[in-house]
C-alpha cells in the first residue's frame, strides 16, 4: 500500500523520464490512462520506511485543453489530488519551462520544483539564485543533474518533507478588468462547488475565462454550473472587447511577463559569449537540409530495418524451432491424440506464435529508443511532414509505414510515438497494407512458378500496390471518419545528445511487456480457435476436407470463383493465413501436393497465370494476421476500429482480386 502519492510533471524534453527512472528504478508498471491509449507509467520507491507511489504525467507545456496529454494531466491533478507534485524544469530553458510551473502554482498544487540539467547551466556560466527563486514562489526548489543522479537524494528528502505542506495558491495580478471578472466568477463557483474538484475557485474561474473546454465540462456538472459557464462566456466576450484582444492570449502573455521578470531577478547570464549557432544547429543544417533530409532519413530507416529483421529473424527462427521441437516432443510423449494435438499445435504453437515476434520487437524498440533519446525522431517527423500531410497524416507516420514492410506488429506498436489520436488510428489502420515479409514466400512461390521471367517485376508491383491501397485508404478514412482534420506540426526539436542506456532499456522492456500482455492473449486465443476448427469433429484428419475448417472452406469457395481460385483448398489456406501469412504456402503444400516440396509442379493444375496473380493480390490485401489484429485491438483500444481494419481489408482484397481476374479475362 502506497502511503504517499506523488506525480511528476514537466515539459517534454526536460528530463522527466530520467528522473522517473532514477527515482523508481525497476519498480515500474505501464498501463493506459483510463479510457485512452496514452501510456501511463507508475512506479514506487521506499524512503524512510514509507512507500512512495510515483505517477508519471504526460509531458506538457501547460494545463490547457489543447491536447489529450494536457487533459490527462489536469484531470489527474484536480481529481486525484496527489500529495506532492514534482515539476521537472530544464534549468537551461527557464523562460519556456516555467509556464507550466506557474500554472501548477495557480492550481495550488503542493509543488516541488526540480531544476534539472544544472550541468548545462554551469557550463554556460549562468548564475542561478535558487534560494531567491524558492522564496519568490514559496515552494522548494532543488537543483539536480538527473542523468548523473546528482541532487536526487535532496529531491527525495524534500518530497518527504513537502508532504504536509499546504501552500497558498499563488496569484498573479492580471490587471483591473480581468481581476474584476475573476472575482465575480470565483464568488459564483464558491457558492456551488462540491468536494469533487480539488482546485482553487480562482483557478477554475481563470480557466473558464481562458475558454478551457475541459474545465467548462467540469463546472457544468456543478449545481447552477450551466449558469456559471454562460456567465463566464459573457464576461470573456466583454473582456475581449475591452482589452481589444483575446482574454485567453492576454492571460498567457501576462504569465510570460511575470516569468520574464522572475528570470531576470534570479538568473544572470554572462554577456556576449552566447554561441549563436550551436553544434546541434550545425548537425541540423545537414540533417534537415531540403535535399539531403529525406535521403538521410531513408538511410536511418534502412539501417533500422536491416537490424530489426536481419538480426531479429534468425533469433525468431530459433524460438520458432524451439517451440516446434517442444510440440514434437509433446506429441512423441503423449502419442497421437486429440489432447496431445491441442497441447502441441494449439497451446504450444500458440504461445510460440506470440513469442516469435519478441526478438523483432525488442530490437525495434531498442532502435526507436536510441533515435528518440538522441533527438533524431522529431527530426524525422520534421523531414517527412510535408509529404505525409498530403496524405492527411503526420510526419511521424512515416516510421511505422516503413517498418510495416518488415512486420506489421512492431510497426503498429511504433504508432505510439504519434501524439494525436487521429494520426495514431489512421496510421495503424493502413499499416497492414504495407506488405510484410511474411507475405513474401507466397509471392516467391506464385510469381516464380507462373512468371519465371518477370518474378522481380511482379513482386515489386505487389509492394507498390500495397502502398497505393494504403494511401487511398488513408485519404478515404480521413475524409470519412476525421472530416479531413489536419494536425499541424509543431514540436520541439531537442538538442542532440547521447542516449542513456537505462532509459532505452526500460523503454524496450515496457513495450515488449505491453505486447505480451495485451496482444499476446488475443493471438493465443486466435490460434487455438483455428486449431479447434481444423481438428473438429473429433477423429478427423487435421485440416482435411472433412474437418470444420475444410467445411467452411467449401462453403466459401464459391465466393472465390470470380477471382479464379474457387476451390476449398485455397479458401482453407487463406483462413490459415489469418494465423500467420507464412502458413499459406505450407497449407497449400499439405492440401494440394501432400507436402511443400512438389508444390510448384502441382500448382498449375489448380491455378492459371491470372488466377495466380489474383491470389497474390488477395494474400497481399485480405485480413491482417491474428497477431496484427491483436495489436490493432490493443493499440486502438477499440473493437470498432479493429473490426473496420478487418472488414475493410477483406473487402478491398476480395474486390481487387475479382476485378483483376475479370478484367484480365476480358483482355486475354
Amino acid at each position: 500500500m502506497a502511503e504517499i502519492t506523488i506525480c511528476l510533471g514537466g515539459n517534454p524534453n526536460a528530463g522527466k523520464t530520467t528522473v522517473f527512472n532514477k527515482l523508481t528504478g525497476a519498480h515500474q508498471k505501464v498501463g493506459n490512462w483510463p479510457g485512452v491509449t496514452v501510456e501511463k507509467k507508475e512506479g514506487e520507491y521506499a524512503y524512510l520506511g514509507k512507500t512512495i507511489r510515483v505517477v508519471d504525467l504526460p509531458g506538457t507545456y501547460s494545463l490547457t485543453s489543447y491536447s489529450l496529454d494536457e487533459r490527462i494531466a489536469s484531470d489527474f491533478l484536480v481529481k486525484e489530488h496527489p500529495d506532492v507534485t514534482v515539476v521537472i524544469v530544464d534549468a537551461s530553458n527557464l523562460e519556456s519551462n516555467f509556464y507550466l510551473v506557474i500554472e501548477l502554482l495557480e492550481l495550488g498544487a503542493n509543488l516541488v520544483i526540480d531544476l534539472n540539467m544544472m550541468d548545462v547551466v554551469r557550463h554556460k556560466k549562468w548564475q542561478l539564485d535558487v534560494e531567491k527563486l524558492s522564496k519568490t514562489l514559496g515552494v522548494p526548489v532543488i537543483p539536480t543533474v538527473a542523468k548523473k543522479a546528482e541532487g536526487l537524494e535532496a529531491l527525495r528528502q524534500t518530497i518527504m518533507s513537502a508532504r504536509d505542506h499546504q501552500p497558498e495558491p499563488f496569484k498573479i495580478n492580471y490587471g483591473l478588468e480581468v481581476e474584476e471578472a475573476l472575482g465575480e466568477l470565483t464568488d459564483l463557483i464558491k457558492r456551488s462547488k462540491d468536494s469533487s474538484l480539488y482546485a482553487p475557485n480562482r483557478w477554475l474561474a481563470l480557466k473558464l475565462l481562458e475558454n478551457n473546454t475541459q474545465i467548462k465540462e467540469w463546472v457544468r456538472t456543478l449545481p447552477k454550473g450551466e449558469q456559471i459557464v454562460s456567465k463566464s462566456e459573457d464576461l470573456a466576450t466583454a473582456l475581449n472587447d475591452h482589452l481589444g484582444r483575446d482574454v485567453e492570449a492576454f492571460v498567457i502573455e501576462k504569465r510570460f511577463g511575470f516569468i520574464s521578470g522572475l528570470v531576470k531577478k534570479c538568473c544572470r547570464k554572462p554577456l556576449g559569449v552566447e554561441e549563436r549557432i550551436s553544434i546541434s544547429d550545425k548537425i541540423d543544417q545537414l540533417v534537415l537540409n531540403r535535399w539531403l533530409g529525406i535521403p538521410i532519413f531513408l538511410v536511418f530507416m534502412w539501417f533500422t530495418f536491416k537490424l530489426v529483421f536481419d538480426l531479429g529473424n534468425p533469433l525468431a527462427d530459433y524460438i520458432d524451432g524451439g517451440f516446434s521441437w517442444l510440440g514434437g516432443q509433446t506429441t512423441a510423449l503423449l502419442g497421437k491424440s486429440w489432447f496431445s494435438s491441442l497441447l502441441s499445435e494449439g497451446i504450444i504453437g500458440g504461445v510460440g506464435s506470440v513469442l516469435v515476434f519478441l526478438p523483432n520487437i525488442l530490437i525495434l524498440f531498442l532502435m526507436i529508443g536510441i533515435l528518440e533519446d538522441c533527438g533524431y525522431m522529431s527530426r524525422a517527423a520534421f523531414v517527412m511532414d510535408r509529404f505525409m500531410q498530403r496524405l492527411g497524416l503526420h510526419g511521424k507516420s512515416s516510421i511505422p509505414m516503413i517498418l510495416g514492410f518488415g512486420c506489421n506488429i512492431p510497426a503498429i506498436m511504433a504508432c505510439r510515438t504519434l501524439e494525436f489520436p487521429k494520426d495514431r488510428i489512421l496510421t495503424t489502420l493502413i499499416n497492414p497494407f504495407m506488405s510484410c515479409s511474411a507475405r513474401l514466400p507466397i509471392y516467391i512461390l506464385f510469381a516464380g512458378t507462373f512468371f519465371p521471367r518477370q518474378t522481380g517485376a511482379v513482386i515489386f508491383s505487389l509492394y507498390l500496390m500495397g502502398i497505393v491501397v494504403a494511401i487511398m485508404t488513408a485519404l478515404l478514412f480521413n475524409k470519412l471518419f476525421f472530416k479531413g482534420e489536419s494536425s499541424p506540426l509543431i514540436m520541439e526539436l531537442p538538442p542532440y545528445r547521447l542516449p542513456t542506456v537505462k532509459n532505452i532499456v526500460m523503454h524496450m522492456w515496457h513495450r515488449a511487456s505491453v505486447f505480451i500482455k495485451n496482444a499476446g492473449t488475443i493471438i493465443l486465443a486466435g490460434v487455438i480457435i483455428i486449431w479447434l476448427l481444423a481438428s473438429m469433429p473429433v477423429g478427423v484428419e487435421y485440416a482435411s476436407e472433412q474437418s470444420w475448417i475444410g467445411q467452411i472452406g467449401k462453403l466459401f469457395a464459391p465466393l472465390f470463383v470470380p477471382a479464379g481460385f474457387g476451390f476449398w483448398q485455397a479458401a482453407v489456406a487463406l483462413m490459415f493465413g489469418i494465423v500467420a501469412k507464412e502458413v499459406v504456402v505450407g497449407t497449400l503444400g499439405t492440401l494440394l501436393a501432400g507436402s511443400e516440396k512438389g508444390l510448384s509442379e502441382v500448382l498449375p493444375q489448380f491455378f492459371n497465370g491470372l488466377a495466380a496473380l489474383s491470389f497474390m493480390v488477395m494474400s497481399l490485401l485480405y485480413i491482417p494476421c491474428i497477431a496484427t489484429i491483436g495489436v490493432i485491438r490493443s493499440e486502438t483500444n477499440s473493437w470498432k476500429w479493429t473490426g473496420l481494419a478487418v472488414g475493410w481489408s477483406l473487402l478491398v482484397g476480395w474486390l481487387s482480386a475479382v476485378v483483376l481476374y475479370q478484367l484480365g479475362q476480358l483482355f486475354a
Binding site: Y61, N93, S96, N211, I252, G293, D385, R386, I490, L493
Partner: protein, 65 residues
Amino acid sequence: MVEVMDIRGGRGMAGRLAVMGIFPGSRLRMIQNGRPGPVMVALDEKRFGIGYGMAHRIFVRPVLE
C-alpha cells in the same frame, strides 16, 4: 532575428503556440526555412519545428539585434 507581430490562426493554434512561448512580441530566430516544407525556429535556447501551413500564418517583422 524577427519579432512576432500577429498569429492568424484559429484559437487552438494561437493558444498552442502561446504556451510554448510564441506569441505577439516574442523574438525568434529562423534557423532553417524549409519552404515549402516545415521551418525551424529558435526561441532562446529552444528549437521548434513548425509545419509550413502553420508557419505561414505567423506574421513577423525583422528586428535589429
